[in-house]
Every structure is written in structure tokens, then in C-alpha cells.
């Protein structure tokens, strides 16, 4: 990006987007780790994404279309985050083509990685999804508590505990 973006420190536990609010920012993580998550109608939490260093995290639908968001975004560790706001977004049109192409690149990568997760959710067992999680976020296995990983993988903490044991036995 050719224009200036504001960075902020957010300490562990800070909620930077609350479901129900319209999201005024996209975030890029410089340091630390955030998560985005939803609650289903039985009150269970489901993690959509972890964002450690260099990942983007946001609710695009809310940000771009000024809709109340359905997701929460919270800092899991003391973190440092770049704020990208709507004025920045409007500025995109002043950027040279080359930078827009980069932007397109970022977006297509995002689509590709979401697609992979979709395939995974449709066609794999909890065990396969956990193994893929380890590939995708190699170092988060140590940094995050089991119950967060379970929520991302889409199984209960109890079941993930069982899976870990089973995998270790191999």
C-alpha cells in the first residue's frame, strides 16, 4: 500500500469487533494473534479464523456493505494490529493498476484458502481436520489452548483430546 495505515496495540482479551456492530475496519496482524468467531443458536462458539502474524482478519460483509456483523474478533495474545478503514478502501481507486493487481492477488489467495477449508469441512473427519490445522498453523498448536483449537477444527474439546491421544499412539 502506498498510503499510511494506522497501527495500534491491542491487549489480550480486547474485543475489536462485536457481533451486531458494523465493522469499520479490516485488520492486519503485525504481532500476536487474534481470532474471529460466531455463536450458533445453541450458544456454542465456532472459530472461523486465527490470525497470527501477517494474516488479515475482518468481516468483509459488514465492512464493505455496512451490515451489522455476525462475528466477533478478539485478541488472544497481546498484539499489534494495522487498521485499514473505509477511507483507505475508497483510496484504492487512486492506486496504480499494479497495486490493484496485488490487491486482487491477496483476495484470490483468500478465496483459495477458504475453499480449502470448505472442502475439508465437507469431506473430512475431525481427525483429518485437526491434522490439517497443524499444517496450516504449525506453531499455534503450542500457543493456543486445546479448546480454541477444537472450536476451529469443529469438534468438542473432549473429542479433540481423544484424537490427540489416538494420533500420538501411531
Amino acid at each position: 500500500m502506498t498510503f499510511e495505515l494506522e497501527t495500534k496495540k491491542v491487549e489480550k482479551g480486547t474485543i475489536i469487533l462485536r457481533a451486531g456492530e458494523v465493522s469499520n475496519y479490516c485488520f492486519k496482524v503485525l504481532k500476536g494473534c487474534l481470532k474471529s468467531f460466531v455463536f450458533d443458536n445453541t450458544g456454542r462458539e465456532h472459530i472461523l479464523q486465527f490470525a497470527p502474524e501477517n494474516w488479515w482478519i475482518s468481516d468483509l460483509d459488514s465492512f464493505l456493505n455496512n451490515k451489522p456483523s455476525g462475528v466477533f474478533i478478539v485478541a488472544l495474545e497481546d498484539s499489534e494490529v494495522v487498521y485499514f478503514d473505509k477511507a483507505d478502501y475508497a483510496n484504492l481507486k487512486n492506486l496504480p493498476n499494479s497495486e490493484l493487481l496485488e490487491e486482487i492477488n491477496l483476495l484470490t489467495n483468500n478465496i483459495i484458502s477458504q475453499n480449502k477449508r470448505l472442502i475439508l469441512l465437507l469431506s473430512s473427519t475431525g481427525e483429518e481436520r485437526y491434522l490439517t490445522f497443524i499444517q496450516t498453523y504449525p506453531n499455534l498448536t503450542q500457543r493456543l489452548p486445546l479448546k480454541l483449537i477444537a472450536s476451529y477444527v469443529g469438534v468438542t474439546p473432549e473429542h479433540l483430546s481423544y484424537l490427540r491421544k489416538k494420533i500420538a499412539q501411531k
Copy 2:
């Protein structure tokens, strides 16, 4: 798009992308309906996307990164399809910013809709997913056989049949 794109007729059953091949095209559906799908390692088929009129369908990861694709794309009805190839993609850099911004718009919409499906898969029951399918593709319920819908929704045909009955009783 300011440049010419080739359109082709593809008859029902034609496979326009086979898993294992590198995808040389993205497709936009003018008429008819296609599906993209994968097989899991137990041989079960999972439908990623239906593409009726005006939808795009492709395997971006394969198309952009020249990787062998993991998905199949097949015509479910006699259809008419626009082919968007790699030369067209390279031409993007010659387009004016305004058109690139439109492109970005398309991509972000894609991300948003995938995100919704992700949330759905993580946090809803088969019944809720079926109800959402009806919202997303209002007229496909009539056009497609139940077993395809089941594969998209992520339940067995038997279970979807049971769900339909249950929903009808309300």
C-alpha cells in the same frame, strides 16, 4: 470486461474440468447449470458449488497457480458457458482501474458468500443447511434431483428425504 470472451455450448454430462488436470479456464454460466465437486477418500462425492445462470465456477487454485485440480466441474443441464482463460487473466493489467475495482468487487462477493457457507457448515444442522440452500438457490430445488442437493447440503439422500417430510409437516 472490455475484451472478447469465447462462449461455448456444453451439453448435460460434459466434464469441463477433471480432478488431476490443470484448469486452464474460469467459467461463467449464461444458461443451464453446472456443479463443482470433490471425492473424499471414502469415495463419497461432495458438491462445492452449483452454478446456475450468471454464476462463476472454477478451481482458482488450479487456474492461477497451475496446480493439478482437486475438483471436477460438470454440466448438470445443457448449458452455455463463457470461457475466461489465462491470456484474459494476463490482460487484466491493461484494464483501467475502474474495471479492476469491479473485478475486486466480484472477488470480495465471492469471499463473502464462501464465508457464509463456512459459518453454516460449522454452526448449523443439516436441516438449517437445507433451508439455507433453498434461500440461496430458490429455483434449483425443482431443477435438481434430491441426491445432488443432499450432496451439497452435506447429508445423505435418505436423511434429506426425512428432513423434507419433517419440514413439510410444519
